[in-house]
Symmetry: C2
Subunit: 244 residues, 2 copies
DNA sequence: ATAAAATGACTGACCAGTCAGTCATAATTC
DNA sequence: GAATTATGACTGACTGGTCAGTCATTTTAT
């Protein structure tokens, strides 16, 4: 958060040229070649656009790793650049500043979550099976991917990005919980879900939150069998005598 | 860096006196007077000792506010000092560095939690009542106090302070969950708690975690009736047909 | 040849931690 | 008990290092 442009005047440039360090040129050139090879290694005789798109992806991926390893404040953009195999300045061709990079990262990772889940509200499965499928999706699509790190980031830093929290709530959570609430209400009418649960869909999601927070803090210290925990939870909520 | 007097020797003092900057003296004096007035404003004709004790407290209180408002990295010790009504240097008389201050703060706030809870394992109440009492303790002693902010801090920053996470796990969580597990096992034997729950006491605590995280992120946006949510949870876990 | 993209040295703000100096209080002396 | 000296809690200007963001220059694509 420092913006003190000042604006250097154009004009005196000629005089400076002599100062350019030469020794470095060769080295830098080599490193650069490697980078470019990497960027284009897929196959396409990389057009500008293709490369540009790739860059964005690379930056976001690197940023995710750095941010989730050190947190927003402690993460250094130099490291993000290094990890992405580019120079720091390049980041600024794709993102206005550190804040923007962070927010676009979370937004891009979090919003797509609804897709899969919202659709599920439609299928009219028995509640327990639906819950089990939900659990599988959670484990496969969130817990075992980097999305869990994104959620961790949201939890850890969300407070200082209220706009981000709002987006996440509006575009993701409120929709998921609304769908869940509807499903739960129907299930309760059929006697497949406890009364009152529909009002607090958070209680369905709670073990997921526990899983993410616990493994983040005590993962090595005291591993948690997440699938089993969630199964236990489901059995308690949706069947007096669970089958499996 | 310069001379290293450690305690100026008596003798040459006279000569130096002239060098003392004057312009500052008056200003500094005034500021100081204000500080001292504030420090002693309670009533005690502040003795050295009494003041010293108060300072530590004041620093910890200020640090809690700053840390939980901005996070560990972004919090500035100058602001902590300002909030505590002291100078930055003073912090270093009581804490080695920023890390230490942070860790001692969390440790001091978190460890005492066990006291109340562990005792409860003894009383042999019906499970549901025990759960309700637990919920009341949580709401009164954690959720409605600054301890919830401390837990939030632990969640947000704990990953980068593994030693702290370990202490928290060993000295607090493992004990609480062990006690809870035992209670749940007995309750299950009496038919008052679902089988399997004893293995995952985290499931009892889950709504508490939800409460803390939710209110931190979406508190203003979508308030959550924490007590009601927890009651719903208890009713589902511990009675087929809840009474209230 | 020209434009667009990328680079990385550089700048300036920022902040943890230091330390020489101050001064209220305590200890000692007369 | 008044005057003198010693103590150490407290201060805040300062240092050294860090890092977000800029921009003149170089590289690449067309």
């Amino acid at each position: 958060m420092a913006a003190k442009p000042g604006k250097a005047k154009p004009g005196k440039t000629k005089a400076d040229k002599a100062r350019t360090p030469q020794g470095r040129k060769a080295v830098a050139g080599a490193a650069r070649a490697a980078v470019l090879r990497r960027a284009g290694d897929g196959s396409t005789p990389n057009s500008r656009q293709a490369r540009g798109a790739g860059r964005r992806e690379a930056i976001l991926a690197a940023a995710l790793d750095e941010f989730s390893e050190r947190g927003f404040e402690a993460a250094r953009l130099d490291d993000v650049a290094k990890r992405a195999g580019i120079a720091k300045g390049t980041i600024y061709l794709y993102f206005r500043d550190k804040d923007t990079l962070f927010q676009e990262l979370l937004r891009a990772m979090l919003v797509p979550i609804i897709g899969g889940i919202e659709a599920m509200g439609q299928a009219d499965l028995p509640m327990k099976q639906l819950a089990e499928r939900l659990r599988d999706i959670f484990i496969k699509e969130i817990f075992e991917t980097k999305r869990k790190d994104v959620i961790r980031l949201m939890i850890a830093e969300g407070r200082r990005f209220p706009k981000l929290a709002e987006i996440y709530y509006r575009e993701v959570l409120s929709r998921i919980f609304e769908a869940l609430g509807a499903v739960l209400k129907r299930a309760a009418a059929r006697g497949e879900a406890p009364e009152g649960l529909a009002e607090f869909p958070q209680l369905i999601a709670a073990p997921g939150l526990v899983a993410i927070v616990w493994t983040g803090l005590f993962g090595e210290l005291a591993p948690l069998d997440v699938r089993k925990m969630m199964q236990t939870h489901i059995d308690i909520l949706f069947s007096s005598r669970g089958k499996s």
